[in-house]
Amino acid sequence: MTTTTRSFGAYDAHQDASKQAQWRADKWMIVGTLLMGTGVLGIFGLPLFFYGLHLQMQAAKAGLSVRPLIVTLIGYLVIIDSSLNSLGWAMDLFANHSLINRVLTAGWGAVFDGGYFWHYNELKMGPYTIGGAGAPGEKAWEISLILACFCPRLAAAIGLLQMKRWGQQWLIVTCWMGLIVWIGYNPNMTFYADVRYANITFPVLGWWIYDIFYITPFLALPYLHTVNREIFTD
């Protein structure tokens, strides 16, 4: 038996053109997001991301079948959120004596959160030196959220951008995990406010202005729960 490939003419050409346009836009957005996910190089990533977004919007305007804008925005926002948290906290856990970490994390701590400044790199567990943030409870949050929340969330966002059903489902799961994150993390911080806000540059207000961005992925929940699931493939 022989298999034949059927061509649907204009439809195939439209599909190909759409795929190419999406990939062209994605290349810019991926590079921009990777740079923004490092934190340090974020300022260089933003214009690249916006250029990619502009390309996608132009393709949509030209009538090509590209990913819905809201899915693109949610997906890349979640990637940035997960990368910043995973990378930052992984550095605090494992590379806490590196120069970049001592400058950036401890520097950030001096301005916004004393938990990452006072007695930085002095944390011990029994006789074992752990280093990094010494704020009570912080290390447990780092371990649990990198492993159970942010890494699966990063994978979910990639799946969402590929318009996969598992991506949408896992993004919903990890958005709900955010409930545990924010209901738990903030009181822990508040209980030890005397450690975390004492003698830093911008106590309270600074942390909230900086961190409010991380709390926004909740806003995706109403969309993710009510979007037509059929637009995502199995």
Binding site: W182, I183, A193, D194, N199, L221, T226
Partner: protein
């Protein structure tokens, strides 16, 4: 008919999500205000 039922369900679901978000953000605003209160009585 069935489409109408689904969209009604989605409408209610969306409404519940929004109510949930209002509650959650109120909780976070409460924590923020409490931290401001602590700030006002501490010598940070």
């Amino acid at each position: 008919m069935s489409k109408k039922v689904v969209s009604e369900q989605d409408r209610r679901r969306k409404k519940a999500m929004i109510v949930f978000q209002i509650l959650l953000y109120s909780y976070l605003i409460g924590l923020f205000l409490f931290q401001l209160h602590l700030y006002s009585i501490s010598d940070w």
